[in-house]
């Protein structure tokens, strides 16, 4: 069966046909839309490498059927930077050594962007670690990841105050 869906991906409105309803949102983004920043790790919702924002909320795109997200607004790691200007979370991951091999990093960054937007962890490292527990890092760059999320949180709060 063929299904027609529309999706907004990083601000671009796309009309897509699905030849196979088994297509996950992750496979659609990587194989059809050509955005390979979102990674396939476990493909079972356990590692978080596939984390994207759907209508502003972080989810595991490997456990989401593309067909079930007709009309959704998706943000992937490719949608964060403004040209050459990195998103504060991306900049903080570089500044704080929040990765080693980098495979989990797009998922970590998308998860951190959502965590900061959720506004419940603040600057508390324990709440950040808990809020980031859906993202596994096999290089165990956790200390740098926590520092990066703290730094980005502070910077984004400052930017908000400045623009207010």
């Amino acid at each position: 069966m063929t299904l027609s869906i529309t999706m907004t991906v990083n601000g671009d409105r796309l009309a897509l046909t699905l030849d196979d309803p088994r297509t996950t949102l992750l496979d659609l983004l990587r194989d059809r839309v050509g955005l390979t920043g979102t990674k396939k790790g476990c493909d079972r919702g356990q590692c978080g490498a596939c984390t994207v924002l759907v209508d502003g909320r972080r989810i595991n795109s490997c456990l989401a059927l593309a067909a079930a997200h007709d009309g959704s607004d998706i943000t992937t790691v490719e949608g964060l930077a403004q040209g050459d200007d990195l998103h504060p979370v991306q900049a903080a991951f570089i500044a704080q050594d929040g990765f080693q091999c980098g495979y989990c990093t797009p998922g970590q960054i998308m998860s951190a962007v959502a965590l900061i937007a959720e506004g419940e962890a603040g600057d508390d490292p324990e709440r950040i670690r808990e809020g980031m527990s859906g993202n596994i890092c096999r290089c165990a760059a956790y200390a740098g990841i926590t520092d990066a999320v703290r730094e980005a949180t502070r910077r984004m709060q400052q930017d908000e105050r400045r623009s207010a």
């Binding site: 919702g45 972080r58 059927l65 079930a68 998860s111 527990s133 859906g134």
Partner: protein
Amino acid sequence: MTPFEFIRPATLAEAVAAGAEPDSRYLAGGTNLLDLMKLGVAVPRRLIDISRLPGLDRIEAQPDGGLRIGAMVRNSDLARDPAVLRGHPAVAEALLSGASAQLRNAATVGGNLLQQTRCPYFQDPAAACNRRDPGAGCEAIGGVTRGHAVLGWTETCIATHASDFCVPLAALDARVEIAGPGGTREVGMAELHPLPDEDSAGNPAIRPGEVLTALVLPPGSDAFAGHSRYVKLRERTSFAFAVVSAAAMLDMDGGTIRAGRLALGGVAARPWRVAEAEALLAGQAPDAELFDRVAGVLTEGAHPSGQNGFKIALARRIAVRALVAAAAGTPARMPALPGSVFASEGDLTHV
């Protein structure tokens, strides 16, 4: 995944009609079902997407004081709902102790209530399993059974219920509404989650063509709000299923317990409650010796289904620990590590 047809009905009536067709499954958040489909455990021919059915995503205070929660409410939204945090804080704590933020954003209330066991033999299509294939036998028995049941199991099935959320729900006498071809019926948590017996393996009691539409927290269940905790022991600090867990709730009248509720998770095919254990709490002052006696009655008859005898002592201790935490009072703010025995807040002490 094996191929399937994808259907999105516009109304509940259409969904009920579609679900009655053979080999159909309802899709909500998909966090359990898609995983089972990838494993080859669930092989539906038709997938019926009910995630956007109108009217199932609301949380509504009822005129009688109860709280009605639509089945498509996401776990994260429910855990942040002011009425839940205020009136049923152990429900929010249990939700936040489960899975990850990403999964909680996708997973629904209905999906959580109808989720399948994480028994590795159930999840392995090559293993014999009475839950998947009634009469096939249970390959878990005699296998690797650290995580399996110590209460209410039979030779038919030794699996445990995986949900954290359902543990305080059971303690609160929550009920669910189920729409089906013959109209709507309402069942309690124990009826929804039957224990295994000689003939059946204890799958959720929902029939083809039935849609779980709402969860109802009964009127008066917010009486426990000031003294409600969920405590969960797991093999890593976060994002892990319970080895054992407990929800404890006390309705306090000064220094005296007016009524208490207590349910264990991770020990049986459903959250485990014993009325006689809870009755011991009424009219008493919170006290370590009393709590130990209550936990003893709660775990009476527990016996290993394999390599899991250690869970009996752990279950007894986690029940005491949850009661101690509940007696100390619901924290003003959700703990940084919800449900954790390693929480830095409060004065949880080892027992």
